[in-house]
């Protein structure tokens, strides 16, 4: 399976010495930050200098506060854990707790956790590398994956309108008490739809409209949908006639992309 095919495409070779996680001081959690400190101090996970690391960890939190960054609760929990370990390390062993010799190193649990986390960080980087490679493989542009099992019944504007009218009637009763939004624009709803479809892949029309608070919102969203269908950004499908209408982003069209008419 592992074959040495030379000549990786340019720009894909991952820089092994630059951990991708540490951009702009963003850590994915307290363990990430701690692991970073262990690395920059070049200390052994089996023998963490807890006093120094605790001080540096707290310094980091202070700096985050100075930058007005929101510090998630997990970071504070870890700070407390570090303090606790530190105090246990500094205190003489409790003579009443039995022989101090076989008392476990208070750092052991933390070290195990860090080791474990480090492994998964590695796996994360590995998955990232696979993703980078996969992004350089293209497939035939067909029906979006979501619709593969469906008989692709293209939906026209009239189907959409009919479905919309029905839904609007049904949904209106439930939403009558909503307060009115300040402004509703079709352009804004187009962005919303696009963002939502990018995130979810596909959605059913009724689901989509049900998420909106007022009839005004729904009409704007529906107009936005029509516009996106017209611009060939979005596809509308149904499994059978009169079945639920589903929509999804149309896969980018290579010809349009090549001629410079690509959607942003």
């Amino acid at each position: 399976m592992i074959r040495a095919t030379s000549g990786a495409p340019p720009g894909t070779a991952p820089a092994a010495d630059v951990p991708p996680q540490f951009h702009a001081g963003g850590f994915s959690g307290p363990l990430d930050l701690l692991l970073h400190l262990v690395r920059v101090n070049e200390v052994d996970l089996g023998n963490i200098p807890i006093v120094e690391i605790t001080a540096q960890y707290n310094e980091y939190l202070d700096r985050m506060r100075e930058l007005n960054l929101e510090i998630a609760g997990e970071y504070l929990v870890m700070a407390a854990t570090l303090m606790h370990i530190k105090s246990r390390m500094l205190l003489p062993p409790d003579p009443e707790a039995g022989t101090g010799a076989d008392e476990a190193d208070p750092r052991a649990e933390l070290a195990r956790q860090l080791l474990d986390y480090q492994r998964f960080k590695q796996a994360t980087e590995g998955l990232q590398a696979i993703e980078a490679r996969r992004s350089l493989v293209w497939l035939r542009r067909g029906v979006p994956e979501e619709f593969q099992d469906e008989e692709a019944l293209a939906v026209d504007v009239f189907d959409l309108l009919r479905a919309f009218r029905e839904l609007l009637g049904r949904l209106d009763d439930e939403a009558r008490l909503q307060l009115r939004r300040d402004t509703v624009s079709v352009a804004q709803k187009m962005d919303w739809l696009r963002e939502l479809l990018t995130r979810r892949g596909s959605a059913s029309l009724s689901e989509l409209l049900a998420e909106l608070p007022t009839a005004l919102d729904r009409i704007a969203a529906f107009l936005a949908l029509l516009e996106l269908v017209r611009l060939r950004v979005v596809l509308a499908f149904q499994r059978r006639l009169h079945d639920e209408i589903r929509i999804a982003l149309r896969p980018p069209d290579p010809e349009r992309a090549a001629s410079g008419a690509a959607e942003p």
């Binding site: 399976m1 998630a72 997990e74 998964f120 590695q122 493989v137 293209w138 035939r140 090549a258």
Partner: protein
């Protein structure tokens, strides 16, 4: 005496298989194709292998890759830089680090609960998990039989597709990743899924064994 013989001429088989794979919407399972052609799956697999070797030799810019138990046609690696200029984009949305971190834990420890993920990450994975479920990369595998019956999560077929894997055993073990990331250039060695099951069946014992063994190694659970 019908126009089409009962079974295809073995010599024509790679051509038939290739055309079917080309025209299909998604990965083609050898069993399905064999069924339609009245052949043994092994014969179809053999034809797929022959075709794969052919494509590689003839340098058509295409290759066959095994995805989630089926085979499909994809663009070759050598042409990628040029295709990128043509398509003007990378063609897949990449996951955020938080999402990948959560996904890595799920992939290697599945079935796993939110609490177990949190214990490893040191951070609440709920938001990342929601995104992964929404993208169908992760699915619910049931509930763990402990207090509170927490949901158990695992990877989906979509996960295999996203990472171009034939099955979960194709996923390199974490130690494997370490070697690939910090040892030799990763760009040259993660060829994985494109190679096909012929190798998974015979010549590929070590990695498959490592991948299968690894989650077990990790699973020391508190």
């Amino acid at each position: 005496m019908s126009d089409t013989p009962e079974r295809p001429d073995p010599e024509r088989l790679p051509a038939i298989v290739g055309a079917a794979i080309f025209a299909a919407d998604g990965p083609v399972r050898p069993e399905e194709l064999a069924d339609a052609l009245g052949l043994e799956p092994a014969a179809v697999r053999q034809a797929i292998e022959a075709l794969r070797a052919d494509l590689e030799r003839s340098d058509l810019g295409l290759c066959l890759e095994w995805i989630a138990g089926g085979v499909r046609m994809a663009t070759g690696r050598a042409v990628a830089p040029w295709l990128r200029r043509f398509f003007r984009e990378r063609n897949r949305t990449r996951l955020s680090t938080a999402a990948l971190e959560t996904l890595a834990i799920i992939a290697y420890r599945q079935p796993v609960t939110v609490a177990e993920i949190q214990a490893i990450r040191g951070k609440d994975p709920t938001a990342a998990l929601r995104g992964l479920v929404e993208r169908k990369l992760v699915r619910c595998l049931g509930r763990k039989k402990v207090v509170g019956h927490p949901m158990l999560y695992g990877t989906s077929r979509e996960f295999l597709v996203h990472f171009g894997l034939n099955d979960l055993e194709d996923l390199p073990s974490i130690d494997e990743f370490e070697k690939l990331l910090y040892g030799t250039g990763l760009g040259e060695s993660l060829g994985g899924a494109a190679e096909g099951p012929a190798e998974t069946e015979d010549g590929d014992e070590p990695l498959a064994a490592a991948a299968a063994a690894d989650p077990g190694d990790l699973d020391d659970g508190p």
